[in-house]
Amino acid sequence: MLIEINDVWREYKVGRAAPVQALRGVTLGIEQAEFVALLGRSGSGKSTLMNLIGGLDRPTSGSIIVAGEKLGEMSSRKLSLYRRKRVGFVFQSFNLLPAFPAWENVAVPMAFAGVPRAERKRRALDLLGRVGLGERAGHKPGELSGGEQQRVAVARALSLEPALILADEPTGNLDSATSAQIMALIKDQHAHGVAVVMVTHDPDLATQYATRTVRMADGRVVEPVVAVPEAHP
C-alpha cells in the first residue's frame, strides 16, 4: 500500500461562521500500481483530498500514512521533502513561473533539490524532448499554447522521478485532442510504475485511463471501491 487514508476530516474555519467541512471521514487506500480517477461534483472535496495526499495541507483529523509515516504529523521541512521527492503535481491552471523559459520551469524542483545547474539543464532538456517540446525549451510560458504549457508542467512534475503523480483536472482547460496528448504522457508514467491520482469531471477519461474510479460527494467517498478493467485506448 502506497498511501493509506483513514477517516480523514478537513474543516475550514472562516470567520465566526460555522466551519465548512470539506472532507467528512474519507477512508481510501492507494496502491503503487494504481491509476485512480477521482470524480465528483464541484465542491465535493476532490481538490481538498488531493492537497492532503500531496502534503500541501494537513487533515483536521484522521491520518494519511505514507511509508509508515503520518503526513499530518510530519515537520514542515519533512513535508516539503516528501513533496519534492515523492510527489509530482499537475494543476488545471499549469502554475508555471512566467519569467522563466520552459527548461528552467522544468528545472525548478531540481534547483531546490540542489542538482547542479549543468545537470539540471541537461535533464530538463531531456524531459522536454520526451514531452515533445525539445524545440521550445527557451520559450517562456506566455509564448506557449495551453497544451504546451501543460506539457511543460508534466515534465516539471516528472523531473525528480516521483512515485506518485497528483493531477487535479489536468485537462480541464484543454480541448480533447490536446487532452489526449497530456493523458498519453500520464498514462506512460503509469505504465512505468508511477501511481496516479487524477481528478476529472469527464467520466470517459476515467473509464479510458484509470484502473479505479472513486466517486466523491459532500466530502465523502460515496461508491464502494469498484475495480474496472485496465483500459486500452
Binding site: 519569467a99 547542479p116 539540471r120
Partner: protein
C-alpha cells in the same frame, strides 16, 4: 540546504524589478557612502594629527609666548563718568571706558616677557628640563653687492642638529655660537645663483645681517600695511633720517613701543646651503620653516639681544621642554598661571581629537538615521515583493521548497540589494576620497605651515570590508520579517486557480 534554487529565484526576483531594487539599494548606497567618508575622514585626520604633529619629541614640548596680563578689571575704579544722567547710562559708559582702557593696555604692552630673567625663573617649574628661546627676526641681508631687505632668519637648535639633513652643500654649524649661517637655496636662487654648483661655490663667503631701520622703528604699533609700504619706498638720505626720528614717537603716541631699535649688525660665514623641506619631513612644534637664513641658536640670541627693542619686549617665543609627555598639561597650566600664553601639541591634539570625536558622532548619528530609513525602505520593498509573488511562493512550495529555502530566497534578494548598495557606496566613497585628499592637502599646505603629505581621508582594510558588510547585514535584518511572511504563505491558498 541547497543554495542553487535559492540564488536562481532571488536573482530572478531582482532582475524582474530592477528599478525598484535599485531605488531600494540607493538608501544603503547613501548611508554607506556617508559613513565611509566620515569614518575615513576621522581615521585620516587622527593619523595626520599623530603623524605630523607628534613626530620628533613634539609631545614633550610647550610653545611659550608672552602674556598680555590679567584683564585690567580694578582699573575701572579710577574711571569716573561725570554729568547728569541715569545710573544705568553711567554704568554703561563706564563699561565702555573700561573696555577701551583695557584694550590699550593689551595692545601696547606685553606684561609677561620672555627674557633671560624669566627664563631662569620658569626653568624652576617642576618637570621643566629646559627652555630655549625661538629667535626669528627680520634683518637686511647683504652679500657682496646682493641685498635683500627684511629677510626672515631663524635660530636653530644646534644641539638637536635641527635641519642637518637639509644641508645640500657645505656643512652644518660647528657650534651654537659659531658665527656661521646656513642660507636657503631659494634666497641664493633669487640672487641669481641658479645652479647647484654656483650655490656650492658660495660656501665660505661672508654675509652681513643688519637690523632693519625704518620698519623696525614703527614696529608693533603701526599697522602692518604701513610698515610694509614704508619698506617698499625709496627714501632720500634726509627723508630717511627724518622718518627714523619721527616714527618711534608716532609709535609711542599710539601706545606702542617707545624706543627705536638700535642698529645692530653682524658679519657671518656661510657654512652651508639648506634645501627646502620635503612635504614628508616631520615638522617640529613652533618651528619657523619659511626662514631664508638660519643661524646657530646662540648667535641668533646674541644678535637679537643687541637690539634695544629686544630688551624691552623679550623673545617672541620660547620652547619649554618637559621631562615626560604626561606632565605637559601640568606644566602648561603653571606657565599660564605665571601670565604666559602656552600651547602644547598634547593639548592641541586633545582638543582636536575631542572636536573630531564630536563631529564624527553627530555625523554618524545622522548617517544612522539615514540607515534606519534605508532599512525601512528595504522592509517595505520586500513585503511588497512577497505579496506580489504569493502564487510563485505557492509553486515553489508545491515542487518541494522548504520554508527555510523560501526564507532564504527573500533574505538573499535583500542581502544582494544591500551588498550592491554597500559596494557601490564604498566605490563612490573611495572615488570621492581621491579629489578630497588632493583638495584637503592643498588647503592644509596653503593655510598652515605644516609639511603635510598624508591623506585626510583614509580607507583602511576594515573600512573597505565594513561598508558592504554593513549594507548586507542591514538588508538581511530588514528581510527577516518579510521572509517569515513568505515562509508562512499557505500553498493551497496561493495556488487556488483564479
Amino acid at each position: 540546504m541547497s543554495f542553487a534554487g535559492v540564488l536562481t529565484m532571488a536573482l530572478e526576483g531582482l532582475r524582474r524589478k530592477k528599478g525598484r531594487a535599485s531605488l531600494t539599494a540607493l538608501g544603503i548606497f547613501v548611508s554607506v557612502l556617508a559613513l565611509t567618508l566620515i569614518i575615513g575622514l576621522g581615521e585620516g585626520l587622527t593619523a595626520a594629527i599623530s603623524d605630523t604633529l607628534t613626530s620628533d619629541d613634539n609631545l614633550r614640548q610647550i610653545l611659550l609666548m608672552p602674556g598680555f596680563g590679567e584683564r585690567a578689571e580694578n582699573k575701572g575704579e579710577e574711571i569716573v563718568i561725570i554729568g547728569e544722567m541715569s545710573e544705568a547710562r553711567r554704568a554703561r559708559l563706564k563699561r565702555a571706558a573700561m573696555a577701551r582702557a583695557e584694550m590699550r593696555v593689551m595692545a601696547g604692552r606685553r606684561t609677561s616677557l620672555i627674557d633671560d630673567a624669566s627664563i631662569a625663573r620658569l626653568n624652576k617649574i617642576d618637570h621643566v628640563t629646559g627652555i630655549r628661546p625661538l629667535v626669528f627676526e627680520r634683518y637686511d641681508v647683504t652679500m657682496d653687492d646682493q641685498q635683500t631687505q627684511a629677510t626672515l632668519t631663524f635660530g636653530l637648535d644646534t644641539e638637536r642638529k635641527r635641519f642637518a639633513q637639509r644641508v645640500v652643500a657645505g656643512n652644518y654649524f660647528s657650534g651654537p655660537r659659531a658665527g656661521e649661517v646656513l642660507v636657503h637655496e631659494y634666497l641664493l636662487y633669487q640672487w641669481g645663483f641658479v645652479t647647484e654648483a654656483q650655490q656650492a661655490n658660495l660656501v665660505g663667503k661672508q654675509l652681513t645681517l643688519k637690523t632693519q631701520d625704518i620698519a623696525a622703528a614703527g614696529a608693533g604699533a603701526l599697522p602692518q600695511g604701513i610698515t610694509e609700504a614704508l619698506r617698499n619706498i625709496e627714501f632720500t638720505e634726509e627723508e630717511h633720517k627724518a622718518l627714523t626720528t619721527i616714527l618711534p614717537k608716532v609709535a609711542a603716541s599710539m601706545g606702542g613701543r617707545e624706543a627705536l631699535q638700535t642698529a645692530a649688525s653682524k658679519t657671518l660665514t656661510i657654512v652651508g646651503i639648506l634645501r627646502e623641506n620635503e612635504p614628508s619631513e616631520p615638522v617640529a612644534w613652533g618651528e619657523v620653516s619659511l626662514a631664508d637664513v638660519f643661524l646657530p641658536d646662540g648667535t641668533a640670541q646674541e644678535l637679537f639681544s643687541a637690539g634695544a627693542l629686544s630688551a624691552q619686549l623679550g623673545y617672541q617665543r620660547a620652547m619649554v621642554y618637559v621631562d615626560d609627555p604626561v606632565n605637559v598639561v601640568v606644566v602648561e597650566e603653571a606657565l599660564k598661571h605665571a601670565g604666559y600664553s602656552a600651547y602644547s601639541v598634547a593639548s592641541f591634539v586633545k582638543q582636536a581629537q575631542q572636536a573630531l570625536g564630536i563631529v564624527t558622532i553627530i555625523l554618524s548619528f545622522l548617517t544612522g538615521v539615514a540607515l534606519i530609513v534605508a532599512t525601512l525602505g528595504i522592509v517595505n520593498t520586500m513585503v511588497t515583493s512577497v505579496l506580489e509573488r504569493t502564487r510563485e511562493i505557492g509553486i515553489w512550495k508545491a515542487v518541494g521548497a522548504t520554508d527555510l529555502q523560501v526564507q532564504a530566497i527573500f533574505v538573499t534578494e535583500s542581502a544582494l540589494i544591500g551588498l550592491v548598495g554597500g559596494l557601490v557606496g564604498l566605490g563612490a566613497a573611495a572615488a570621492a576620497m581621491i579629489p578630497g585628499n588632493i583638495l584637503a592637502r592643498r588647503m592644509i599646505l596653503e593655510q598652515t605651515t605644516l609639511p603635510f603629505s598624508g591623506n585626510v581621508f583614509q580607507l583602511p582594510l576594515y573600512l573597505i570590508l565594513a561598508g558592504p558588510a554593513l549594507g548586507a547585514a542591514v538588508a538581511v535584518l530588514a528581510a527577516i520579517y518579510p521572509a517569515r511572511r513568505a515562509a508562512k504563505v499557505d500553498p493551497v491558498k496561493a495556488l487556488r486557480h483564479d
